[in-house]
């Protein structure tokens, strides 16, 4: 049975409509994976010598034990953000003569082969082998330790599923957990109660008495069973339907009426953003990334390279514009045939999208005013960047949108979500960010800081003047690409 399920998975991967199209993305992800593998492997191999070098009198294995808890928590955190829940479309199997337990086990076992479980092994195994080779402890103890740590990371794997199931719908419920972790961290920091050391000494016991390695194994089995039970309870069609009984939100956004004939489109877009998870999250992310400047403005090392502040300025005032704009019109992919056959002139459609992005830039640049604390030059530069965004980058993003062919599932979280991402999204980021930085760098280097600002400012203003004709031109491109867009959007899958 497992074999058959595996062959189905295999087919679903290779027969997915967009496999060929997203090959570039897959290769990129492959490189990224290779990069992490290399780093982890180097760290795993180098760990023993490094500890010997800097802490010669410590026993490396016992030393590492003290940091295992921190590592596990970090692992849980990045898994929570990045790892997706293992899924299997159960609907076709529900009425077939297959035991539920078997399907659930398949899903759960499948998740063991996740890349996230593979990475820690790259540290545990080389480090363990080093210890075996150096004869730091009895062989059996070290092997028991390796087993214990492997099962601890696997336990994190399953603990993450439980946490994710419970909290993704309701992020507020996470607050007590975070408070607890911060409290433990503070207790540790002020030497009141050393959780890390306590956990470390618990792990040290495994070295003393190797049979204790059975505890992490039991923990793993327990979590596995818990997941099994969780999933078994959800093995009904109405389990997924139940969540949808929420009352519909009927905000009208009547204030958009002021904007005349693009008002219905603006209302439409606001509802789109407000009622769907993925676009809604981009709003939260925009506010969060406003703080991006804090990484750069206070540091002296960046003061001599003001061109970098152009990048920061374009980024923080344009983050919503970029996140939203790069997927125009894929946001409307599900009903693109309606958009194309209804009485919707493309020009108005695009003008409304441009207006929405313009608002976002204005709001973000206003929210960014506190950065004036780091100097007026930064304050003015941010305004210039905002105007550049409005004048140049918005039409640019709209133009790039005409190359979008991939539909977007509005209800999925945007974290590590590459659905709808194609070469367009990567290519457009170059003119978006690099061009203004380059211009500014040239002017700043050969003329002055002010001249660079004035140049970007005039480009932005020029762009605003020609927006109408730019949109005219872009709508022609959309019209030309209409059929291939419609065809692309009709295909499902990522």
């Amino acid at each position: 049975m497992f074999q058959r399920l595996i062959s189905l998975e295999w087919k679903s991967f290779f027969r997915s409509a967009s496999l060929g199209k997203s090959l570039g993305l897959k290769i990129l992800m492959g490189f990224l994976a290779l990069y992490f593998v290399t780093i982890f492997l180097f760290f795993g191999v180098g760990l023993y010598p490094i500890i010997k070098e800097y802490f010669p009198e410590e026993d490396p294995l016992l030393f590492v034990n003290n940091y295992v808890l921190v590592w596990l928590l970090a692992e849980l955190a990045y898994r929570f953000l990045l790892q997706t829940l293992p899924v299997l479309d159960i609907k076709p199997f529900m009425v077939m003569p297959i035991k539920k337990r078997k399907l659930i086990n398949f899903v759960l076992v499948k998740s063991i082969f996740s890349f996230f479980n593979f990475l820690p092994l790259l540290i545990i195994i080389p480090f363990g082998i080093f210890n075996l080779y150096k004869q730091t402890h009895p062989d059996i103890s070290i092997i028991a330790w390796m087993i214990a740590l492997t099962f601890l990371t696997l336990s994190v794997n399953y603990a993450n599923f439980i946490i994710k199931k419970r909290f993704t719908e309701n992020l507020k419920a996470l607050i007590p957990v975070l408070v607890l972790i911060i409290a433990l961290f503070l207790l540790d920091y002020f030497d009141i109660f050393k959780v890390g050391l306590w956990f470390g000494s618990a792990l040290d016991q495994i070295i003393e008495s190797p049979y204790l390695a059975v505890i992490p194994v039991l923990l793993f089995i327990g979590l596995f069973k818990w997941n099994q039970k969780n999933l078994e309870g959800k093995f009904y069609l109405d389990a997924s339907l139940k969540e949808q009984t929420k009352n519909a939100d009927t905000k009208e956004f009547l204030w958009t009426k002021k904007f005349g004939d693009i008002a219905p489109y603006l209302q439409q877009d606001l509802k789109l953003i407000w009622r769907n998870k993925r676009p809604k999250t981009t709003i939260y992310m925009s506010f969060l990334l406003l703080g991006y400047g804090m990484f750069f403005y206070p540091q002296d090392s960046y003061q001599n390279m003001p061109w970098f502040f152009v990048f920061v300025g374009v980024f923080i005032t344009g983050i919503f514009m970029i996140n939203f704009g790069q997927f125009i019109p894929a946001w409307d992919a599900k009903y693109y045939s309606l958009i194309m056959s209804q009485n919707i002139p493309l020009k108005k459609y695009l003008t409304a999208k441009a207006a929405l992005m313009t608002f976002s830039v204005i709001i973000l640049v206003i929210l960014a005013t506190p950065y004036v604390y780091f100097g007026w030059n930064i304050f003015f530069l941010n305004i210039v960047c905002a105007i550049y965004n409005i004048g140049i980058n918005i039409p640019l993003l709209l133009y790039a949108g005409s190359f979008n062919r991939k539909s977007i599932d509005l209800d999925k979280s945007p974290f590590m979500n590459y659905q709808g991402t194609g070469a367009t999204q990567w290519l457009v980021s170059i003119p978006l960010m690099v061009v203004p930085v380059l211009f500014f760098w040239l002017f700043n280097k050969y003329v002055s800081y002010e001249s660079g600002m004035i140049f970007l400012l005039s480009l932005g203003i020029l762009g605003m003047f020609f927006r109408a004709s730019a949109i005219n031109f872009i709508s022609q491109v959309y019209k030309r690409n209409k059929y291939s867009m419609l065809e692309g959007f009709r295909q499902k899958g990522d």
């Binding site: 519909a248 009927t250 219905p264 209302q267 439409q268 009622r275 599900k334 009485n343 059929y483």
Partner: protein, 238 residues
């Protein structure tokens, strides 16, 4: 009202639609029948300029549909769920379509009132998004939305499928009323031969992309169609 000339659509070497000449006069209720893959949806998609013809043209009120967008203000359609916006409530969807067709809220409300019976109390004021409605109820919304703003051409792809019997009967009544005044040209496709012979004054039968029959509906039409579809050729295939 609608004229197709020399119209063909070829997908990867196989011709899915090939219509020499088809003329649909204004105010006609036009029915399209044929087995799966006969080219019904392809024809409607071409008419709405959602796909490009391989050769030939379609004119909607003398406007070439793939060259100008001027046909959009007087043409409305419901082909499938991709014509619905899932995250809107039915009311919002109707008002949105209304705004696109220069109808204010009051105009739309007047129209919706007429369809109260059709909705059977399952659509309005439910505080539910369209994506959470059943297929049949979604279809009701799509059909009614296609009638907003007094369109001169209405295109409905398989409007009877997924509807409950009561609604099917009400839909037939609606279509008949619509064509009674001879202002609206209505194009529908269906697998239900009884329904379509009842509401359409003309029926075109497509088979593998070709116009096989072009009939003015009479008492004998239903029998003729049934005889055609129960031919051995089809029995063997299925």
């Amino acid at each position: 009202m609608i004229t197709a000339t020399n119209l063909t659509k070829v997908y990867k070497g196989s011709t899915v639609l090939n219509i020499d000449h088809l003329d649909i006069p204004e105010g006609q209720s036009f029915g399209l029948v044929g087995n799966n893959g006969a080219g019904k949806t392809t024809f409607f998609s071409l008419l709405l300029d959602l796909i490009q013809p391989t050769t030939g043209n379609i004119f909607n009120n003398e406007i070439t549909v793939n060259q100008s967008e001027e046909w959009k203000p007087f043409t409305s359609s419901f082909i499938d769920e991709s014509f619905l916006i899932g995250y809107l409530t039915p009311e919002e969807y109707f008002y949105f379509i209304g705004e696109l067709r220069q109808q204010n809220k009051a105009d739309v409300d007047v129209l919706l009132e007429k369809f109260e019976e059709f909705f059977n109390g399952e659509i309005l004021n439910k505080r539910k998004y369209l994506r959470d409605f059943s297929k049949g109820n979604q279809k009701k919304v799509g059909i009614v939305a296609a009638l907003i703003g007094n369109p001169k051409v209405v295109i409905l792809d398989e409007p009877f499928a997924n509807l409950d019997p009561t609604t099917q009967i009400r839909l037939k009544k609606t279509i008949k009323e619509l064509t009674a005044t001879r202002d609206t040209t209505i194009l529908i496709s269906s697998h239900d031969l009884i329904h379509i012979t009842e509401v359409c004054e003309r029926i075109v039968l497509l088979n593998h992309g070709l116009v096989e029959k072009d009939l003015i509906t009479s008492a004998a039409t239903l029998q003729e169609l049934e005889a055609y579809f129960s031919k051995d050729e089809f029995v063997e295939q299925s």
